[in-house]
């Protein structure tokens, strides 16, 4: 992969930190995000971990603006209005490629952003070099391997020159070599100053990539801590159990809304949840 610095073109208009205050979001009667408050600072790498259904993806989608919170406040630095199109990008768990070649997939993203044609060529070459896909530029995107498609998705996101990049389990369905390549890429992008917020189920990956860990459970952020501290000495019992690889599950009590959460091998006190 090439060593081209993508951020030299990044706009100076800083949109970070991103602040979330008491965010709630529900679909029907199911409350998927509960009272979320956190802050994402410039240039950091955040890993959101937690069991399935914890609300990790929802949190990313909400930050990215794909869904609107029911209540609470989400604010960007300088009260940024057009942040969605201008300064941020998202890579989805399964890469969605337009039925065009690799080059045109990136070109489309740039045309949406109204980048003049003459500027696009060098920008596309740049991101394809970074992601090691320059040789596949004219290949139909959907014929690339899943790992290559994911790298192309990252290239497309990078072409937008985001200040913040959301990644929803970008390596979930990739084999170890492809995962390694993506991780290298994430590190490189981060070193170039882009803020990374990614979700993952891979604790090893969270350790390798995350500077800051957010542990989520049933729509709440249970713990947010520096990666080293979090993995060494998690404060929350659920987080501790999750790191230990204990199976978490819950059951709704028949008499009310209270939820009793259990995990093997111990049962924790409800007040600690």
């Amino acid at each position: 992969m090439g060593n081209v610095n993508i951020t030299k073109n990044i706009q100076l208009n800083n949109i970070l930190p991103l602040r979330l205050e008491n965010i709630n979001y529900s679909i029907g009667k199911r409350q998927l995000l509960k009272n979320i408050s956190c802050q994402f600072d410039k240039g950091k790498r955040y890993c959101v971990i937690g069991p399935n259904g914890a609300g990790k993806t929802m949190l990313l989608r909400l930050c990215h603006g794909l869904i609107k919170p029911d209540s609470g406040k989400l604010t960007w630095q300088n009260n940024h209005k057009n942040h969605l199109i201008k300064y941020q990008a998202m890579v989805f768990q399964r890469p969605v490629m337009l039925r065009r070649n690799s080059w045109d997939n990136i070109n489309y993203a740039l045309s949406v952003k109204n980048i003049p044609r003459q500027q696009r060529k060098s920008l596309i070459e740049q991101v394809l070099t970074i992601t090691g896909l320059l040789d596949q530029a004219k290949q139909p995107a959907r014929q690339l391997s899943l790992g290559q498609q994911q790298r192309l998705a990252i290239a497309r996101a990078l072409a937008i020159q985001p200040q913040i990049l959301f990644m929803d389990e970008p390596t979930a369905s990739l084999d170890p070599p492809a995962t390694y390549q993506i991780e290298q890429l994430i590190n490189q992008i981060s070193n170039d100053g882009v803020t990374i917020i990614m979700t993952t189920h891979d604790l090893g990956q969270a350790k390798r990539i995350g500077e800051e860990i957010l542990f989520m459970f049933r729509g709440r952020i249970k713990e947010q801590a520096n990666s080293e501290e979090f993995f060494k000495n998690p404060q929350n019992d659920l987080a501790k159990a999750f790191i230990n690889g204990d199976l978490l599950w819950w059951k709704r009590r028949p008499d009310g809304d209270n939820v009793q959460i259990k995990y093997k091998p111990i049962t924790i006190n409800k007040t600690n949840i």
Partner: protein
């Protein structure tokens, strides 16, 4: 059995002779059907794609209407166009009744809903896949609409073929608005109907075989164009 052999024989004779009259009828058939197809495609594809992408009140009603209109009875459409274009009708001044233009108009009305409904189906499927990614890139609704329509172009050949099938096989409407006038509005289907009513079954079936061959050639042509484009395009 004899009738069928006679018919096949007649088809060959008609085809080999290829007299000026038959040639004229074949060309007019193609001209009317392909013109109608071209116009209907230009109208129907944006409609179908818009229904797939845009969310507006009454969207479901439009979808249901398109599906219902797919089964429009040609004779009724013919009658409607006849009333519109007849001397006393609102468009009577244009003097279009019993011209190929009237036949094209009738066919456009018949096949537009078919192409639109099929386009909606194809583009909606693609849009469900693209939706969030395109929004994430910051694409406006119009850009999403054009992206979906553009990327679905090869799959939409099926919709075009369905439209062509209906147009080339249609007889009820073109008979009413065209009148089957020799050297003016006589096309393959109206000729077949006329020959059959005259009792010239062999000629009718012979013409029918030629019509089927013509339709098959056009179908194959469109199929191969799509196939080649897909192979050498960037899908």
């Amino acid at each position: 059995m004899d009738d069928i052999f006679q018919a096949v024989n007649m088809a060959f004779v008609l085809f080999l002779q290829l007299d000026a009259d038959l040639f004229e009828i074949m060309i007019l058939s193609l001209k009317v059907s392909l013109s109608a197809l071209f116009i209907a495609t230009r109208i129907a594809m944006p409609i179908g794609s818009a229904v797939a992408v845009y969310r507006f009140s009454g969207r479901k009603a439009v979808m249901i209407s398109l599906n219902i209109l797919m089964g429009l009875p040609p004779v009724v459409v013919g009658l409607f166009v006849y009333l519109m274009l007849s001397r006393n009708g609102p468009f009577g001044v244009f003097g279009l009744l019993f011209t190929p233009t009237a036949m094209i108009i009738a066919q456009v009305i018949l096949i537009t809903p078919i192409i639109a409904a099929l386009t909606r189906q194809v583009t909606e499927e693609l849009y469900n896949e693209y939706d969030e990614q395109l929004i994430s890139l910051g694409a406006s609704q119009f850009r999403r609409f054009t992206a979906v329509l553009f990327d679905a172009r090869y799959k939409l050949l099926t919709a075009i073929l369905a439209g062509f099938g209906r147009a080339s096989a249609e007889v009820g409407a073109v008979m009413i608005v065209g009148g089957n006038i020799d050297h003016v509005t006589r096309v393959m289907t109206t000729s077949i109907a006329m020959e059959a009513s005259k009792g010239e079954l062999a000629t009718a079936i012979g013409l029918g075989l030629i019509l089927i061959t013509m339709a098959a050639i056009i179908n194959l042509l469109i199929y191969f164009i799509g196939d080649m484009a897909q192979k050498y395009g960037n899908i």
